[in-house]
Amino acid sequence: MSASQSAVRSRAEAVKVSRTFDWLICFTLFFVVLGGYHIHYMLTGGDWDFWTDWKDRRLWVTVAPIVSITFPAAVQAMLWWRYRLPFGAVLCILGLLLGEWVNRYLNFWGWTYFPVNFVFPSNLMPGAILLDVILMLSGSMTATAVLGGLAYGLVFYPGNWAIVGPLHVPVEYNGMMMTLADLQGYHYVRTGTPEYIRMVEKGTLRTFGKDVAPVSAFFSGFVCILIYFLWHFFGRWFNSTEFVKSA
């Protein structure tokens, strides 16, 4: 290419070209990250996210933040560390929630007729906002991992409480005490239901003790710190512009 030639004819055209690329990049990044993040999340924490009778106070609270902090950490490693854009985590969660809501409505409800108030996705946005804000204010990967990761785990249950609280009200049904969410599950039997019951009935999970959720959130926050570190470095690797030369 000749260095004396210009790719554009005026500064105005250069600005327009630059803005157009911004939009193309945003669209592509958003939907490719959505696809990768969604398949990751649905296959590592999906069952807890699909059904309200899985949205318990121990495993849901523990698993969902741990498996969902991955892509936000990796995308922050690009958007903040390369371009100083402080919305990597929110971008990921917006993508994930869009993919989930479209699916829950058009397929869980639209194809197999599970009611939406049985299959709505978990709310991960409060943790994502905290991750982005802490990174923006601190400019530190370590602070974001330690403070943001811990906050991401801790805030998950309170962030969902207003949504699932009404479904955790105890009810008596045929002489048994259960939650409204359980009742939904009994009415909408799924092909994997026996396995589900084994998973959900572990330990003290189904008692009405008050300590299960905070302890689970704290443990989740601890693991989130470690996962954030790990995925930040994964993200850095995925950011490489290296070329492989043929031998």
């Binding site: 290419m1 000749s2 030639q5 210009s6 790719a7 554009v8 005026s10 500064r11 250069a14 600005v15 070209v17 630059s18 157009t20 690329f21 990049i25 669209f27 592509t28 990044l29 958003f30 939907f31 990250v33 959505l34 696809g35 990768g36 969604h38 398949i39 990751h40 649905m42 296959l43 590592t44 999906g46 069952d47 699909f50 892509f71 990796a74 995308v75 690009m78 993919g99 479209v102 699916n103 058009l106 397929n107 869980f108 639209g110 194809w111 299959v119 092909t191 994997g192 396995e195 998973m199 994964f234 993200g235 995925f238 950011n239 490489s240 512009t241 290296e242 070329f243 492989v244 030369k245």
Partner: protein, 250 residues
Amino acid sequence: MAATTESVKTDAAEAPLLNVRNMLLGASLYIVFYGWVRWYEGVYGWSAGLDSFAPEFETYWMNFLYIEFVLEASTAGILWGYIWKTRDRKVMSITPREELRRHFTHWVWLVMYAIAIYYGASYFTEQDGTWHQTIVRDTDFTPSHIIEFYLSYPIYIITGFSAFLYAKTRLPAYQQGMSLQYMVSVIGPFMILPNVGLNEWGHTFWFMEELFVAPLHYGFVFFGWAALGVMGVVNIEVASISKLLKKDLA
């Protein structure tokens, strides 16, 4: 798509830098086609897709599978063959404006890849979860698998490899070797398709309807991570486009 067999365009000014019409037509093609596919699932999933031994299953689902195999193989052959056959053999001598135009065309391909990845990895994969939580399978070729594994995955593989091939054959920025992250972002999601072999083997071996978080599915997860390779591609593109525009934006 820009004609690229000739290396130097002396009068490239006439063609728009970004062919918006082509981009919208491409996007519409995916969206309308998948809208029709979803309609087909809705109608024939319940009426003909519950029993793989029934004659109507052969009519509406197995024939759908055979047709999509043929169409996918021929589309891939024609598209990849065309992109390769019309490659630019003097790619390093194109004008900056032509290079910019080709970056835009490359981004049209990447936008298509984004749409295809969304439908494959998000829309039809989670849809598979709800179908198999509702219907006990008696075959590997269930209605949701025929769409998810054997239609939406090949489509994003064909699209992604087309984007990769376009960049490799027409853009100077990709002539210094094989972009590691471009290969990761195309070959990684491609590997989800061979991983279907493990998935089907496991579902045949164990009765596991249908714990989505079962370790049997972790292969999909691992290869899904590869989509993040798009970040490396974006970084290469940003550097190339910045180089092309830098003095004009200064």
